[in-house]
Amino acid sequence: MKTGFFKQYSRQLIAAAVILVICIVLAILKPAKEELMSHTSPEMQKMIEADASSSRKRVTVTYNDLFIINYASLSTSGAKVMSEKYVGFVGRVYPADEGVMKVTGQMVNYTYRMLGCRENLMHGAKLTILLTTLTVIFGVVLGTLLALAKISKKKLLSGAAGVYIFFFRGTPLLIQLFVVYFTVPGVFGFAWRDLFSASDTEAVYKGAFLAALIAFGLNSGAYCAEIVRSAIQSIDKGQFEAAKALGMNYFQTMTRIIIPQSVRRMIPNVSNEFIMVLKDASLVFAISLMDITTVSKNIMTSEGSYLVFIPALVIYLVITAFFGFIFDKIEKKFSVYE
């Protein structure tokens, strides 16, 4: 199995190894943070020194280390506006105030911010990936239960599942998100933040993330229910009858015969659902979380730079490519039943 994998992807693996080696070499050659900072003007150094003893600091020092390249910017607020930017690449430090280096610096900075480096887990690409993955896992589990309920012969059970699916597919996710985050705590008199310890400074983001996960999961469950139901019902009836003839009960039939076969038929649709959720994740802007789309929109409004969307697209494509590959593998694995 393993050798097969290496043989199948030998070309891609070699390419990846070459890129990795180049990156490592570039990373080693990259100038250190101190070197980048040593290029700052004397006035800026003076401001930084003055800040050390001041209660209202004025200098914002940004340092973005993006493995093969790094970027530093120092800017002041207040009446006297100063701004200095530097890019470090292959042993040299370049001023990044204009021209190609300015664009390079911006790209590094934007990518860094969108990936959410040095930020908590509920930020940028990390938020997008975490929320999407958890939502789809939650959605598939909930969806399977709902699908089984919907095809069950018990009227009450199938009715309840039907109403649930109707409700969550029939209303917009954004409104569901608003209801979970604003209306539910308002009506029941609790705050999402209070579910986490009061000393946790990030509780407010965690609370919002939990609310988002619940809203997304409940919504995704309804969509996944239909995916799972259609997959189960696509299995030939004869299989049920054969299992019954062998003396299997309903539970055994489902877990040993039907569900393993239907997984393969579910994967393409679940993969679709995954990509939909990945992009829907940008709706969390409404409850003050920042995913890739929100970060890039913010950068556009504050800096007016349209270049920001290029790294955003690349990041999305990389995520989609990675998870697409994984879904492909899972699908192949379950194809053995066909």
């Binding site: 200098v59 607020s77 506006v81 933040r193 400074t201 990030e202 913010n298 409004t301 504050s302």
Partner: protein, 295 residues
Amino acid sequence: MKKRFFAGMCAVIATLGLVACTSETGTETVTETTETETTETETAETDTETEASSVIDLSGVKLKSDGVLSVGCEVGYPPFEDFADDGTTPIGYDIDIITAVADKLGLEVNIINTAWDGIFAGIDVNYDVVCSAVTITPERQETMIFSTPYINNYQSVVLLADDDKTISSFNDLDGMSIAVQKETTSDILMSDYKSTGTIDVQIVANEKVTSCFTQLQNGEVDAVVVDSTVADGYINSSDDFVIAYKDTAEAEQFGIAMGKENTALQAAINQALAELEEEGYIQETYDYWFGAAAE
């Protein structure tokens, strides 16, 4: 038979819908014409007035459409701009000011409601100017130009009324979670306090300022940092909130923003604002929207 009945119903509903739409458009056109008429008469008046005093030179001013000042505005920021109870007419301090300015220039006003995100990107694309409680900042001045300021504003901290915290400066927000409206001066100021390492504060940025107050009420955040003018509006309408701190040392000024090349329009608007100031119109409008007692 049933099917046919259903189809008939559909047809009836569709026709009703169409009729409703048409009648609506009808009334709209009517109001528009009356509006135009009034503007025209007013323009005539202004013309005579300006002839008497000074003529505002509009030559060299490029507008998106002739005779109309297109204004980008994020309607939903009371008392600066908000929809009247009919849900379609924009009203507020900014609207009054820009309408008066346009009157002075002999132009019609077309308010274009737009999201705050990307509002400046629309200058010279979708509208000529932005008049939407825009603070004049050096960063913004790099990409656009401003009229002379038409109101002063301060950053303020709003707490729940039953909160016993005392805030005597923004440094007292250390360790708290605060809500701000995204990409407003409040957001920029608080982000600056955080990024420079002055205080450690968790910033929750929202699209709408109203969400900030909902979060404060629900207990998701400890405080809201917002323009004092907006805070005044909330305090007046609700007993739940108090202004804990107002940064009177650093006044912010609101101006009308426009494209960098549009200096001719800037000069014309500045002249109109100066005349309005002289006539006492700006003070009058201020008293009307913020109350004569408000600072």
